[in-house]
Point group: C2
Chain length 405, copies 2
């Protein structure tokens, strides 16, 4: 079957490579049919590439090739990826993508277009890179009420936090190392401010609870405020700091969804997820906790997820996959700060008795080199707004959520 | 849609309970159709059960009910489950099961029967209880050459080993605690001798590499030889002992598949899998390592996997799922002892110089209370037969494989 690839960056070139090198295994899964890359769309020139003859700068070469039934969109960004994808789906071609920004912003519209024309829009690679998560989650969903989802969804920040925790490297050095290793972009904002994780939370929340959640509905906090002092205090109570995307079911018309650093206790499957790896934990009322772990990014892992979706689309050329992903509404995602109760880690410049008079008995933490006017403690469960009230007269240095996953 | 349940033990009664309590979510996944339990087959009487009216002792009540399209087989054992399943599949009814013994022994025959009649035979719940693994593995397979699979596949033995490692409980006490908690049977042989894990290895190997592997082809060693002394030595090098099922690709006509205790290093995703939890790690050439974690047994987790398969069967009533699971042959599963190289942990009564003259430089381990005539060490990579040769003149107490997962 003829296929096309749009965007020949890291993932797109990986897709072509995986198709070239894995057609034997692909044929086994399609029942005998190989995938054949017929067009590669990119505005750049690749004169020395072994696929040089396949390149085009004109999207219409793909749109108008009636033999092309499945297209991989690995361009990234909303435009022109959205316009291209929409036209392909309307023309009845299936599109698979690793583009989390597009799925998070426009997933509902694209799924509706696919529904209408009978094509498929698949996006396994948009969350968790090579980790199978979209289908396993649908599977868990079939006989469970999902209570919550928590994920380490960004490899760059997990790499930085791992270096801080395991090697005592400070944030700036760890970020620089991530950049030197190619894990972080020159402008690392989307990673370290949590925007990338936010997009993945949108996709997971939309799938888990069937209503589109947009990035601007997800309160998002990055890791730039995390210091080695926080790491040390939390390590003293056998915990680690992870950047988590969390989604919680409240009612059929209400969920909470947010991204923030969070304290995870040793023993949790999320605590041992290190370096650039990702993991997604799904909590169901019948199954309990299941967790999916693997490489969250990288050329070949992500490409292999894209190609697996291409194989799936090729097998289901006349059959729609149903994700049960409908429209959301104003107020569907609540302000978690007012709703979700949890314990918090607080570091402050304050005497212990002032803390005790505000909070009653709390668990105080300690670290080597702790200044005499600094305290750190873990509170009882409460909402973040209740916490802020109690902290009114306390000189807070940092606050980190403590998760139950 | 009318369905039936055969076997009203722990899992079977869980299936009925999950269907009763989750029809809202089931309807979302089937596109509106609820599952309705029409018959429950069991030879025992359940006069006080709220489903008393549905019970039958006559299998023909299910076979001859033309409205029943999907049947859950949760009886366990090979017979009469095999005969019943075969007749149902031949009659065009789909069967889903948690019965690992039956799938491991007769999976190929049953899949062939399903293939012939256009029904589905699904068995997600037979490996890893509630963990989605069968479908995610198919998905990984679509664009990866699988290099190996390693799994903690038995909750009972993992519970026992966890108690030995974390609480210094000896084997007998840990086994008794597992029995008191209902995790181990009165006759715990199938668990502690590795037979249960062996069946699951057969299923995973058959799926991963497309040829049926039978239990008698899988060399299987249980955990009864593991002592607290071994736990202590291995703990000194940041390792833990787990009962692992391991499958390794050698060539398209050769694999290795075996069950045994194995040393897993801290930092591996398998090392932090504790208590009755299971995890399966799949290593693909493109994706790298992905790992699936969750409850490996238990009434509701396993039942939720059975019901998810029922939903899937109900959705695909006219469409076969293809697993690509064909016949194996003599010699397909090699003797790993002659083939697979790995490091070994050895504990022996021997002077260190005797060990060094047999092995050259090795890594010696130590423990508190170590007798002066006892040594423990980790070897270089070699086959088990090469190891045994070198140990000819050494008084060995225990040998444990060291895994690379």
């Amino acid at each position: 079957m003829k296929v096309a690839v749009m965007g020949y960056g890291t993932v797109g070139s990986g897709v072509v490579e995986v198709i070239d090198s894995h057609n034997d295994v692909i044929k086994k899964r399609t029942g005998g049919e190989a995938l054949e890359v017929a067009h590669i769309l990119d505005l750049r020139d690749f004169p020395d590439d072994s696929h040089a003859a396949l390149f085009t700068k004109d999207f219409n070469d793909i749109l108008n090739d009636s033999e092309v039934k499945v297209v991989a969109e690995t361009m990234g960004g909303v435009e022109p990826a959205f316009t291209f994808t929409m036209q392909l789906l309307e023309a009845g071609k299936s599109v698979v993508t690793s583009n989390k920004e597009l799925v998070a912003q426009k997933g509902l519209k694209l799924l509706e277009a696919a529904e209408k024309s009978g094509a498929n829009y698949l996006f396994e690679a948009s969350v968790g890179g090579g980790i199978p998560i979209i289908r396993p989650m649908s599977q868990c969903l079939a006989a469970n009420n999902i209570e919550g989802v928590a994920g380490i969804l960004n490899g760059t920040t997990n790499f930085i936090l791992t270096k801080m925790i395991e090697e005592g490297m400070d944030f700036d050095d760890a970020l620089k190392l991530a950049q030197d290793n190619g894990y972080a972009e020159k402008d690392p904002t989307a990673d370290i401010e949590g925007f990338d994780a936010c997009r993945k939370v949108c996709i997971l929340a939309s799938l888990a609870f069937g209503k589109h959640v947009y990035p601007n509905q997800v309160q998002t906090e990055g890791i730039t405020n995390i210091t080695l002092e926080d790491v040390a205090y939390i390590s003293s109570v056998k915990g680690v700091i992870k950047l988590l995307g969390q989604i919680k079911y409240i009612s059929d018309d209400k969920i909470a969804a947010f991204v923030s650093p969070a304290v995870v206790q040793h023993g949790s499957q999320l605590a041992s997820v290190n370096d650039v790896f990702n993991a997604i934990l799904v909590r169901g009322d019948a199954v309990g906790d299941v967790c999916f772990y693997g490489p969250g990014a990288g050329k070949l892992p992500t490409a292999s997820a894209v190609v697996a979706d291409m194989v799936d689309a090729a097998k289901h050329i006349f059959r729609k996959k149903i994700f049960g992903w409908g429209a959301g509404f104003e107020g569907y995602v609540v302000d978690y700060k007012d709703t979700i109760e949890m314990p918090f880690y607080v570091r402050a410049k304050a005497p212990t008795n002032k803390v005790q008079s505000a909070f009653g008995e709390v668990k105080f933490l300690s670290r080597i080199g702790q200044p005499s006017n600094e305290v750190a403690f873990i509170t009882d469960k409460m909402t973040e707004n209740q916490l802020r009230d109690k902290l009114t007269n306390i000189d807070v240095i940092n606050i980190i959520k403590v998760t139950s996953y």
